[in-house]
């Protein structure tokens, strides 16, 4: 083979694999669940042992509770969540046409509260917002993640991806340096994992409570000693969106349990 021809073949090969060499091949992706001990798996597998179900039950009660000046419940428009919310969490963050940017499930709940219930916004990580999110996310349990279908999302996915690969903080680490390159290793006693967002909102034993993906991301960002973005910041939403597209096709586990 002549030299220029070798380059042409190599270029073709690259075109056929648009992923960077660092990225995890689809067939090697693993949920954080697979890194857990049998004991922790047992907590997640049993709905009467999974503390995340406390929030799901709260969310179920909130779903039918009339709220705000409009005196409307979620159920008044959306009916039975088992049918109407099936697969919804699996495709969030989704593009909002009015805002012209992606919004997370938490932000969607608050937008609906403002527009249709005329109720005060729920604070990030508050019991009620987590409860509604967990209840809606549970309706997608067992379904494949499908976020990122909307072509309008492409530039935001690209931004999130850029953030995932950008080194930052005093430790000068990017997400990819651990979660693509070293997911099969340990950091002290803990599995590094691939950072696949399959079970949010999730109950972390470390937190002793349920928390959102944004809380988890802020924890990691603080861990590399960078200034964490505020809850709801466009950067966090874009990162969440990229992570969901990165986990596309993986099974939703919400509410998951993690160490």
């Amino acid at each position: 083979m002549t030299f220029p021809r070798a380059i042409a073949v190599a270029a073709l090969g690259l075109a056929a694999f648009p992923l960077l060499a660092d990225e995890i091949p689809t067939n090697e992706r693993r949920s954080g669940y697979s890194f857990m001990s049998a004991d922790t798996k047992a907590i997640q597998d049993d709905d009467t042992a999974n503390p995340g179900m406390l929030w799901v039950l709260d969310g179920e009660a909130l779903w039918t509770k009339k709220q705000g000046t409009a005196d409307k419940a979620c159920a008044d428009c959306h009916g039975d969540a088992v049918a109407s919310m099936k697969g919804v969490a699996a495709r969030y963050p989704a593009f909002d046409k009015t805002l012209g940017r992606p919004v997370t499930l938490e932000q969607r709940i608050n937008l609906e509260r403002a527009q249709h219930q005329e109720a005060p916004l729920l604070a990030y990580e508050s019991r009620d917002l987590l409860a509604l999110t967990a209840f809606i996310a549970q309706q997608s349990r067992g379904l494949p993640i499908s976020a990122g279908d909307d072509p309008e999302l492409a530039p935001f996915i690209a931004k999130g991806r850029e953030l995932f690969f950008r080194r930052e903080g005093q430790l000068n680490l990017a997400c990819t340096n651990c979660h693509d390159d070293h997911w099969d290793k340990h950091l002290a006693g803990s599995a590094v994992t691939q950072g696949q967002p399959t079970g949010y909102p999730e109950y972390r034993l470390e937190w002793q409570t349920l928390g959102s993906l944004e809380r988890r991301l802020r924890g990691c960002i603080t861990g590399v000693r960078a200034q964490a973005y505020d809850f709801g910041a466009p950067e966090l939403v874009e990162l969440e969106l990229y992570l969901m597209t990165r986990a596309r096709g993986m099974t939703m586990e919400s509410p998951a349990v993690r160490p």
Binding site: I43, A49, P51, M53, L54, L57, A61, L205, Q208
Partner: protein
Amino acid sequence: MASALINVPRKARRGDVIEIKALMSHIMESGYRHTAAGDLVPRDIITSFACRYNGKEIFRADFFPAIAANPFMSFFTVAQESGKFEFEWIGDKGFSETASASITVE
């Protein structure tokens, strides 16, 4: 607000060893933590848990500050007769919750 998740087998044969599971929603604030301003966060924990099977106490536990939030208890008993399991949690700040579950023993 949902507070307890109980798991008792709905049916059992007489003499079967059955597992009872009870999860209670609670922050279990240890009383050892401080706020950013340096004030002590007062202790707020469950102090005792009990389970009665048809009125007779079959399990009791005292809880302490080192126990995690949303305490989960799992224990075993022998299915003797149809009836009711009653659970009771008592704690700081007047905390008191109850729950119950029925079982049919054949």
